[in-house]
Symmetry: C2
Subunit: 322 residues, 2 copies
């Protein structure tokens, strides 16, 4: 039986094995991912993102509990962009792991930023892909939401939950539009702190000001105290609202196309570069070009223009032979 | 006079203008960057990285002061990966800007994560490139050190300073090797807090355990209280030590080659993908492929394999016409 077939039968060890193979760039992993692909597209993917210290992990923990109590299975992809400073995140995961270790309806997978040959975004998407084919109902993707790759990952979720905290004070005025565009549902967590109401109101005002072309969804702002499980049910209800909105408005289909385009572009980019780089390496043009750039005899922009035709030709020949 | 010529004469407004053009993806910017390139390679590039709250901004501020007092000019590239949560960072920059606003020997440029067509790493490198050609003595690159792109940026510095804080306690054990590999000089900042000595000792032990092939540099650990300007002179002395080590060991030259290779690869990757994506867009294959992927009739891995030959051929033809 192939690894993919075992995964489709729900074998967790097979899934963990394929995830490792993907991370290690084992060639056969692609064959398995291909076999799994037709079975994807059923899971509901929820992004949980917010600044460090906003309580994302605790909130994720409570979301797991809530979905489990509804009888849904939950897989978590914890993207760990704080690595190489990931002390806290690692410990945090371990704690969460332990809490849910005996529950077969929960699977948590942590993802560091190192050793991902095709980029963090490709790795995270491959893992989501495996979870999805395996039949998990809900996939929670937790990221700190900083860094370009990490923001890309959030965009692949059906519903993105942005976690904020009270007392950002004047600073909230300075928050770039980016965060407001990313979020489908906002939560002001740690809402037992002073200023929670003001922060929520300010967020609502700012959300109202953001132009959302082709969308009639206004992201709600929920107050929560994840630690005390307050507001979590409300948050889940708002996520459900957004899910219904996507389905009823036909946006679910649009999201599918957006996600497919993104996935294809990422993989194409990775493959193109790999082919061309290998070619230039083999024929020695890479090292002579780099030397000339380092000696300032050639600038890197001109170098790329000069080499492009040769590089494309070489990659084409190479690809035709394989 | 070209923008590049004005920049070479030290005109700050011209530099700011070119940085904006680069950000906006204006085609003529590349011409100016090419003209500047032969004049690069003189600045000393120092990376300052560490987790949020470690006091990087204050430390950067004190490093500026110290280098200014030595008569050196200082440019700062503040890479802001906390965006879209960048409230604090923006305010922080503004404060620092104001402090040095009247000093013509200081130029601070902030970089968000949005709107960088060729990726954050390309944008940061273009800005470093402009500063370098302009003749700034020291370029400080401040990043939070999280996220894949951000770690890449740190690797372009001659000397990378990693800023830590005391009291990480047991968590320090969990820190991945990544941070230890990145740093050339470590500082335990906020060293007036308890546990500073223990944190410094633990760091030293961990540094000693990391294998550093082909290097006989052992990264020193300095204690600092940036707020009170304590330990900053010591930190600068250790950075100078590392600079001398690079020069005397011939590693400076090696770094130049590494950096050139990185730069070339980044630009090649960007260009390849842009050409191919445009081609597939123009001939309609992109949208038909994405549709098939979204309908699960085609998996994205097979899609890339199937389309590669056509894509390379099309890009080659297109490139030959321009």
């Amino acid at each position: 039986m192939s690894l993919a077939q075992r995964i489709l039968q729900g074998e967790i060890r097979a899934a963990a094995r394929l995830m490792r193979d993907v991370d290690d760039g084992i060639a056969s992993a692609t064959r398995e991912l291909k076999e799994l692909y037709p079975h994807t597209g059923k899971a509901y993917i929820i992004g949980v993102t917010g600044p460090p210290g906003a309580g994302k992990s605790t909130l994720t923990d409570k979301l797991i509990e809530t979905y489990r109590s509804q009888g849904k299975t939950v897989a978590v992809v914890a993207v760990d962009p704080t690595s190489p400073f990931s002390g806290g995140a690692i410990l945090g995961d371990r704690i969460r792991m332990n809490r849910h270790a005996t529950d077969e309806g929960v699977f948590i997978r942590s993802l560091g930023t190192r050793g991902h040959l095709g980029g963090l975004s490709n790795s995270a998407n491959d893992i989501i892909h495996i979870f999805d084919a395996m039949g998990w109902d809900v996939i929670l993707v937790e990221t700190v939401g900083v860094g370009q790759d990490e923001v890309e990952i959030v965009r692949t979720a059906h519903t993105s939950v942005v976690v904020m905290v009270p007392g950002l004070g004047d600073e909230i005025q300075a928050i770039k539009a980016g965060i407001l565009e990313i979020g489908d549902v906002f939560t002001v967590n740690k809402a037992d702190r002073p200023d929670a109401d003001r922060t929520a109101r300010e967020l609502e005002t700012m959300i109202a000001m953001v132009m959302r072309p082709e969308s009639d969804w206004t992201p709600p702002v929920v107050k929560s105290v994840a630690q005390k499980v307050e507001g979590v049910a409300d948050l889940v209800a708002r996520i459900d609202d957004h899910h219904r909105y996507l389905v009823n408005s036909g946006k679910m289909h649009q999201h599918e196309k957006f996600y497919s385009a993104q996935r294809f572009a990422d993989l194409l980019k990775e493959r193109l570069f790999a082919e061309v780089h290998q070619c230039l390496s083999d024929n020695g043009r890479l090292s002579e070009t780099v030397d000339a750039i380092a000696r300032r005899e050639l600038d890197p922009y001109t170098a790329v223009e000069t080499i492009l035709d040769d590089a494309l030709q070489c990659a084409m020949r190479k690809n035709r032979l394989t």
